[in-house]
């Protein structure tokens, strides 16, 4: 005889519950996790080096945990900032899970750490599925990767609380189309802020540090549509000034002042 048992359970329920517990535990310790996602070679480490150094220079205690399939090269580079750094070797696994992160947080980072940066494995597919207990999920992309990358990897861009464009110093050389890029981001994640940065020229770095520290101080974080309909109020608080949220914007009108910040115009 055959019978069917109804089960209604999220496949990643265990990871999600652990991530939720981590978020609370870290909040109690005064530490905010920033999860950095990108393809290999987008410049996560190159950007994180000056970001850590800037935070250290401001006297803000930060730490970084960097995940790679192999080598400790990234940890060595990041440690030059003076911030505490740990390397996670995933041994071939394509993403970090909450349990792996927790394994490193028993007696680390130091108690006064305000922001813990987690440099995920370079991969835009798998890491997007795993909540690590972060308060801010940042998806990065360099100008060499093509304006349509947000459409090719909609989950990674669609779930981002903040999108960071890197290597803008070579944008003109590679013919990067910023307007098309911002339209593609807006298509999968309406209202998300895009920060343009260059680790080489320093463009956008201080603003990026400001944004991350503001989140650590409790500032509202953008709620991506793809994340679900929660906290609409928090999302509204994050939308760029100008037209009220939900209203159609004239093409290009949504751009924020200052060269370091783009915001999604109408796709």
């Amino acid at each position: 005889m055959c019978r069917v048992i109804d089960v209604r359970q999220a496949v990643l329920a265990e990871n999600d519950a652990l991530a939720g517990a981590l978020r609370e535990e870290l909040a109690a310790r005064g530490t905010t996790v920033v999860n950095l996602l990108s393809s290999p070679g987008s410049g996560k480490t190159a950007l994180l080096e000056p970001v850590l150094a800037a935070a250290v220079a401001r006297g803000v205690p930060v730490a970084a945990l960097t995940a790679d399939l192999a080598t400790e090269n990234d940890a060595r580079r990041l440690a030059r900032s003076g911030a505490p750094v740990r390397q996670v070797l995933t041994g071939g696994l394509c993403h970090l899970e909450a349990a792996q992160l927790r394994g490193h947080l028993e007696d680390w980072p130091p108690d006064d750490t305000r922001v813990l940066f987690v440099e995920n494995v370079g991969n835009l597919v798998c890491p997007a599925a795993y909540d690590l207990g972060e308060k801010l999920r940042v998806t990065l992309m360099s100008v060499t990767e093509g304006e349509d990358k947000p459409l090719k990897y909609p989950t990674a861009f669609g779930l981002a609380h903040l999108v960071v464009l890197t290597k803008t110093d070579i944008a003109d050389a590679v013919g990067f189309d910023r307007v098309a890029f911002t339209q593609n981001v807006a298509r999968v994640n309406p209202g998300v802020e895009i920060l343009a940065t260059s680790a080489r020229t320093g463009e956008g770095l201080e603003v990026l540090v400001d944004r991350m520290l503001a989140v650590a101080d409790g500032a509202a974080v953008h709620r991506p549509t793809m994340e679900g309909g929660r906290a609409a109020a928090a999302r509204r608080a994050h939308v760029a000034p100008g037209p009220e949220p939900g209203r159609p914007h004239a093409r290009g009108r949504h751009r924020r002042p200052g060269p370091e910040s783009l915001t999604a115009p109408q796709p």
Partner: protein
């Protein structure tokens, strides 16, 4: 290729559920996978076939129900399929939507059991 991790998680959950109904044998596991879940159903089926070997669910099939991603436009009340790649703007009034109705599912919905024959 995190589908192997996902398949392993599916097997663990299903095995847990099956233990409560022992000695019945699991013949199939039903899952729902949304279009925006970031999981490729074919890769999940392949991974499940690999991961189930040597487990209590070695004979179980994976039945995947694929869910279309849809959103609702609050101002006009229209529900629409967001498509692939997703376009999270209302096609009628050209405004961004803040409400995704379906498409992020990654869940086990049931297991099919065969009672141990007497």
């Amino acid at each position: 290729m995190h589908e192997l991790s996902i398949a392993t998680a599916v097997l663990e959950r299903a095995a847990e559920e099956a233990r409560r109904h022992a000695p019945a044998r699991v013949t199939a596991v039903r899952v729902r996978v949304g279009e925006l879940a970031g999981v490729v159903p074919d890769a999940l089926r392949f991974s499940f076939d690999v991961a189930r070997r040597g487990t209590a669910l070695a004979a179980a099939r994976l039945l995947v129900e694929e869910i279309t991603a849809t959103a609702r436009c609050a101002p006009c009340g229209d529900d629409f399929a967001v498509g692939t790649p997703p376009f999270l703007w209302c096609p009628r009034c050209d405004r961004p939507t803040t409400r995704l109705l379906t498409g992020r599912e990654l869940e086990i919905t049931g297991i099919e059991l065969e009672e141990a024959s007497a």
